[in-house]
């Protein structure tokens, strides 16, 4: 049996289309079709839907009068962001410490176990000091903040607040040549840049979508949060502050970092839209859905389940091998020094120009697969380089840093570098898949890297020039 589509000759589809075109050349067909449909649905509604009080319909939008008002719109956005940070930092502090102690306690038993069976010390090194430590650090540093941040953020999202942010900020994005929905994809970036790259599909114009993709990295994702939180609470807030004030100041520092990220996003969008991605802004329609009270418990359970599961999987997939590699690099000795130290020494002169050190740069390089592992790699690098410090809690991490000559400038520049440098490997792969362009995938790593280097270099030079460190 011949199916119709094997007919040879001129493509029957094309002749079909030309036949349709001939019939349709009176124009305005679309309007007639849509108003036909619209008329029918309006007819059905007027028959079947009755409103007791039409005024009531707008009542779910009352909040918009405040949330998007000229006076309160931006203060509320900033306060909301600050509040989310504050809850995250305050809530994650203790559980992180507990987890670190728990893993340290287990490590003691693991070590004892290895000794009991007379396992070779390299095996203990690879498995316990490499794999186990790397993984457990990632979990104890990442998991608690994520378990708090994601549910809180999901609540805001389900409540319907994010479109209001896009509404408030649209003018800024328009001025910088981007799309108002870029505010939404940026919000997704707080969770995960790789996922946010996929969410840029809500932007229909390819040019503006590319802008959103290129700049998404300037929003710190879950892999960078803990680094930022840890460093800012250790170095950026005065040593004297404690308790609530410390949490509060840390939240402020994080807000500052995020605002820098937003500024860079807008600037890069603006430059790109004036150069490589020139073009007129495309159309823009944004729905502001009614506010809906989120199902608090369900949202919390769902988002924590999904996030914690993801963090754990990611920790195992990425951190475990990275832990092993770092340990091996730190313990294979060539010419009197470990490979790790050789590498760190190689990067050190350059890193010093940026206000950091060779270990930090190396951690960022080895951390390309996932930003989560940058900090653990750095710690392992430091610890394998002779200055052995027992990490039995998060407090002693600061001692490790201090013993390697850290100042607040080192911390600040590591935070800035973390905020601005290239996105993680997963994100780059997604960018390539989404844009189908090697050029843009490479550019989306090179542009941020260039900015990160420039900014940290400038900050380091200025701070040193002024003699602040």
């Amino acid at each position: 049996m011949e199916s119709p589509h094997v007919i040879k000759g001129p493509d029957p589809m094309d002749s079909l289309l030309s036949a349709a075109k001939k019939l349709a050349d009176k124009g305005a067909i679309r309007d007639e079709i849509v108003s036909g449909i619209y008329g029918v649905s309006a007819g059905i509604c007027s028959d079947a839907v009755t409103y007791q009080d039409r005024k009531k319909l707008g009542s779910t939008y009352k909040l918009d009068r405040i949330v998007t008002s000229r006076l309160w719109g931006f203060p509320i956005m900033l306060a909301g962001l600050g509040l989310v940070f504050w809850i995250t930092i305050a809530g994650a502090n203790y559980p992180s410490g507990w987890l670190a102690s728990l893993f340290g306690w287990i490590e003691g038993y693991l070590t004892a176990g290895f000794e009991a069976v007379n396992a070779p010390s390299w095996l203990h090194g690879v498995l316990v000091l490499g794999l186990y430590r790397g993984t457990s650090w990632v979990i104890s540093v990442m998991l608690p903040p994520m378990l708090i941040f994601f549910p809180v953020f999901a609540l805001l999202e389900n409540f319907g607040y994010l479109p209001r942010v896009a509404f408030n900020m649209d003018r800024l994005f328009k001025k910088s040549g981007g799309h108002g929905k870029q505010a939404l994809t940026m919000s997704m970036g707080f969770g995960c840049n790789a996922a946010a790259i996929l969410s840029t599909r809500i932007i229909e114009s390819p040019r503006e979508r590319m802008l959103a993709i290129l700049t998404n990295n300037f929003v710190p994702c879950n892999g960078r949060w803990p680094t930022l939180i840890l460093l800012s609470s250790m170095f950026m807030v005065g040593a004297a502050t404690t308790g609530a004030l410390r949490t509060f100041s840390t939240a402020l520092v994080l807000m500052g970092i995020v605002l820098i990220g937003i500024t860079v996003t807008l600037t890069v969008s603006w430059v790109m839209s004036k150069t490589a991605l020139r073009g007129v802004p495309t159309h823009y329609t944004l729905e502001l859905p009614p506010y809906r009270r989120p199902q608090i418990w369900k949202t919390i359970v769902r988002s924590s389940k999904e996030k914690s599961l993801n963090v754990l999987t990611r920790a195992i997939i990425v951190a475990a091998p990275a832990g092993i590699i770092t340990w091996v690099l730190g313990n294979v000795v060539v010419g009197g020094d470990s490979v790790l130290n050789h590498m760190a020494a190689f990067f050190d002169p350059f890193a010093q120009l940026l206000g950091m050190d060779g270990f930090i740069i190396m951690a960022f390089i080895l951390g390309l697969p996932a930003n989560e592992i940058v900090l653990p790699i750095l710690l392992m690098g430091y610890m394998s380089s002779g200055a052995m410090v027992d990490v039995d809690g998060l407090g002693s991490i600061k001692d490790i840093f201090l013993s390697h000559g850290w100042t607040w400038l080192t911390a600040l520049n590591m935070m800035l570098f973390s905020l601005l440098h290239y996105p993680c490997g997963t994100t780059l792969v997604n960018i390539y898949k989404e844009t189908k362009s090697l050029k843009w995938a490479v550019l989306s790593a090179v542009i941020p890297l260039g900015i990160a280097i420039t900014v940290t270099f400038a900050v380091a030079q200025i701070v040193r020039l002024l003699g602040w460190v």
Binding site: S3, P4, P12, A24, I33, I37, S41, D47, N310, R314
Partner: protein
């Protein structure tokens, strides 16, 4: 025990995903179809011993190919021909939401209209006469609240009726202006001759009149044998390690 496929269509922000999550629970994964890179969730649920494969289409305002999402949703309904298309509507803005339902009904009568957020609508003093709507549309209409799990059983029963063929509706077909109807009448034989009777000829004719080139591109691709099997992407695409 039989297996059926249910596609979830609806405007953005109608609680479509809430319903999808409620029915499929955690038995879902991210999938994609037909060589399109659009990601959607897929899951499974059981009702009265029938197993349903649920496909969450992207939330769209229409099926008129204004965007990649709309093309993807349209292509799924036309080419994958799910056993039931479940159209989720927002009870608080039915007028606009019904447009999508009407568009779906022009493609297929194997549909169930699900008016979500009915409790929200009640709170706002909106009364909806389901029988009247169902009578006009010619397919089952159910009012539910996905978040408070109201009306789910009734919804599943209607899904079953349509899926098993116990219900065969005569879906509302919109009568357009004379010009358009004349155009459609002229095109239908041509369409049937070219693409066969598998696809909804009247709808395709209407879309062609509207100059919907993307539909033609999709049709071409599908006529050339099921190209989708070759272009299927790696299942892991889009499943990011974090999120």
């Amino acid at each position: 025990m039989s297996h059926y496929t249910v596609a979830f269509a609806g405007n953005p922000n109608t609680g479509k995903s809430t319903l999808f999550n409620l029915l499929t629970g955690l038995r879902q994964h991210t999938g994609n179809w037909a060589g399109k890179t659009v990601i959607t969730a897929e899951g499974e649920f059981t009702h009265n011993q029938h197993v349903y494969r649920a496909v969450d289409l992207p939330g769209t305002y229409s099926l008129y190919s204004n965007s990649a999402d709309e093309e993807a949703a349209r292509d799924y309904i036309i080419f994958e021909q799910p056993d039931v298309t479940l159209v989720v509507l927002d009870a608080t803005s039915l007028e606009r939401n019904l447009n999508l339902a009407l568009q779906v009904l022009e493609i297929t009568g194997r549909a169930v209209i699900c008016i979500n957020l009915i409790d929200e609508a009640k709170k706002l003093g909106i009364d909806i006469n389901l029988k009247a709507i169902s009578k006009r549309l010619g397919v089952p209409v159910v009012a539910i609240s996905a978040r408070n799990e109201i009306g789910i059983e009734a919804l599943l029963n209607q899904l079953e009726r349509v899926a098993t063929g116990a219900f065969t509706g005569k879906p509302l077909q919109i009568t357009y202006s004379e010009d358009i109807e004349r155009g459609i009448a002229e095109l239908i034989p041509l369409v049937e001759q070219t693409v066969g009777s598998r696809y909804p000829a009247r709808w395709i004719a209407l879309r062609l009149l509207d100059g919907d080139n993307s539909l033609l591109t999709s049709l071409k691709a599908h006529m050339r044998g099921s190209k989708r099997y070759e272009t299927k992407e790696v299942a892991g695409h889009g499943v990011t390690a974090c999120h």
